[in-house]
Amino acid sequence: MLTLSEVQNITGEKGNFQVEILKKPRYVREDRCIACGACTEKCPGKFDDGYNADLKTRTAIYVEYPQAVPLKYAINPAACLKLTKDKCGTCQEVCPADAIDYTMTEETVTIDAGSIILAPGFKPFDPSRFDNYQYAKFANVVTSMEFERMLSATGPTMGHVTTFPKVPANPKKKKDKLLAEKRKDPKKIAWFQCVGSRDVNKCDNAYCSSVCCMYAVKEAIIAKEHAGSDLDCAIFFMDMRTPGKEFEKYYQDAKTRHGINFIRSRVHSVVEDPETGDLHLQYADEMGQIVRDTYDMIVLSVGLEISKETRAFAEKFNIDLTESGFAKTGSFEPVTTSRDGIYVSGVFNNPKDIPESVLDASAAASAAGDALAEARNTLTKEIPAVPETNVIGDRPSIGVFICDCGSNIAGVVDCPDVTEYAATLPYVTVAEETTYACSQDAQDKMVEIIKGKRTQPHCGGGLHPEDP
């Protein structure tokens, strides 16, 4: 798995591609990092936390999100004081696994590949340029990605939705402090659908992004679940598009069971109350009547877009695109690009949700595999098996390893005391404390201890394991 990497060049053809990859430095050795997080505790460098839609900052040494794969920390060289000003170096000092390496540099690797699958994904549409919604200016106009993170238990507000979400939690600037005082739990939230989708007037995205109707319904339901019944949620839409499996029922439930309001209208513009930050909007209802209303917060349901970088990549490597920038595929070979041997999956192959992306991924794997069927198992290596020792009838010999998990366990539990106690238990022949039992060093040591114990002569079989 090559992370922090970019494809620089593709040469060759189906069955025999050479792919040149630029591997950027992580400044953390993947083979050593045990993802304990000790490095982040005192890191003074800060930058916007993209995973949380920039609603908070993260330290210069970071892991993208708690479930990241591989779960290895990385340093953002632009935010790190050691790498920018040769000051600090704290992470290297505190790392228990000696994983920090400031001297890492870019490297280029070339790999041979028979098939290639492109899955570069999308970027959410940036609504800053829409002057009618004033996303860039109005504090309580947020994007659906920002709102999504606010709703998340692991997000910047741990699931608590408040107005002025872009103002820091502990504001330092005077202006931010004033805004923070106005912060409240919203009582009325509106979603505007098709922002950056189905629109050739204010942007060039004529297509439908496929996922926004469902995510808006989901966000509204969850917001109401969090806030209770006095939260008023309204979704302004053109067509409600819930054509997926079980989706229509979800939409009907949102209306009837959760009391979400669905208003078929495209809101023209939003005006902010300069005092409160509340948002006044005006729209025509289905009968053509002009309605004025005020909301505490507006969520822009932004569409999915193919980035400039992906478009440039496609152009460089002769992958035909549709006019909207998605990979051109045929209905009968839906994961095959215009270039032989190169396949595609996910939103780059048209806007789609998770189940369809997962199907696309499996389908792309099948297409890539079909092309290489003859070569199957020609480059595999077997892991040599270690012969298993027969222990049946032996007196039990138990090794106990008490893990500190850095300060995760040792910060609360008296681990030396527990280790000492473990040594007194029946059949325990080894009791050791380890800083991180999961680290490679600790694993190697365990193997060594087990092997050492196995070669010792048996200390008698007088006791039966079932009779301690």
């Binding site: 004529a206 209905s331 998990c405 106690y421 325990v428």
Partner: protein, 496 residues
Amino acid sequence: MVAACTPKTHEPLFQETLKSAGLNKYLFEMTNIRNHNSWVHKNNPDIATEKAKDLVRMAVAKAGLAQPLKEEKIQVNASVMVVGGGLAGLTAARSLASQGYETHIIEKKDTLGGEALKLWKTAQGEDVQQHLSTLIKEIYASDKIVVHTNTTLEGVDGFVGNFISKLNTNGKTTELEHGIAVLATGAKALETTEYGLGKDERIISTLDLDKMFMENDARLDAVQSAVFIQCVGSREPERPYCSRVCCTHSVENAVALKEKNPDMDVFILYRDIRTYGERELLYKKAREKGVIFIRYDVTEKPKVKVEKDHVAVTITDHVLNQPVTIQADLVTLATALVPRKDERLANFFKVPLNDEGFFVEKHAKLGPAEFSTDGVFVAGSGHYPKPVNEAITQGRAAASRALTLLAKKDSLFTSGTIASVDVEKCSACGVCVSICPYNAPAFMTEGRFEGKADVNPVLCKGCGLCVASCRSGAIHLRGFDTNQIFSQIFALGETA
């Protein structure tokens, strides 16, 4: 014994460590003194230390009774049965065959192609019949694919890697042994008389219109005014789902009518237009060509009346808020797609159907082409209505998922922590047979212990339901045997 974090994430790592030290991996024991202890008792370090000792003592007691366990090799028959010879099934079969696996296609009709045989064009304008016939030719040309037409499935025995299916071909019964099954039974258009379908030749279904296009039907030349009615049988209390394909299909046909005769009046009566993704461009094209879209509410459906020289369609226009009547020469109904709702087939493979009769996949997001039943996969509109490209994608996806089993056929093993029956104690009451969600226990049909229960190690997931419910105490869960659990309970009663 490692006292650390959660075995959910870390047990496999430590088990590997044991293996590389030459020990059976089931001699590993773990206790969680982090998530269950230091994290939740942060404010009580003294008590947390005592609790850690308790947990360690319990785990050590269990470790002392650990036994090396064996993982049985699973024999996988490397051939596949695909049920359904439509686009999804054919695509899955072609992919599996091209990767070298023998594949049998079971089709109840006398021809391959399924519902796709009735389709004119895709949303992108490709000729369906041309592509479909190429695909069918490839299927017949493959020496790895056996096509069984006029064939139905009469029964299935066995489990992943070892299925035996009973086939009925024109009344003749044969048995087919296969390791994997792909269910691609599809869906079909709803048969309905709503809006007068079938009563007048000017009121037709979407597939009828496709047929007219394919046959260059002269009647189309005379049409001056055409109306499409959407959601016929979909998004209603009886069928509360959206059929997904109809909006695009009608819009595509509306454009074709406009292209055929730009002076034709073409109306689409809809509830929401759902041309998702780049299908939206087709919707845009239709509007540019002058197709009129009129929205209606499900509580106020259009009314269709057959008159002498036309069909009168009355609808309340959403802009005018007035009833308008269209004098149509042709009314096309976008009828719902309904699944085959084959409960017998679902039963054969122990796979679930939802309320509407669509197959329920293993996981809506992460397992969309497979079932919870190991070795059985799903593709096509039997899972949910889908257009050509999505049926093909799922066909390929099902093949891909099946390959993950087929490719490992020499290295598939059961788990060591499974249930086993002490036949001496078994009273043959059958509780375990009826309670197991995986059909792992069964009565032995021959030998000395005929009638007693036996657990199939391939099917057993080690959940322990049978162990807890066995009134004779005859079933043991390896790795979690009664003496091991009791040793932990007794150890809990002791104090540090």
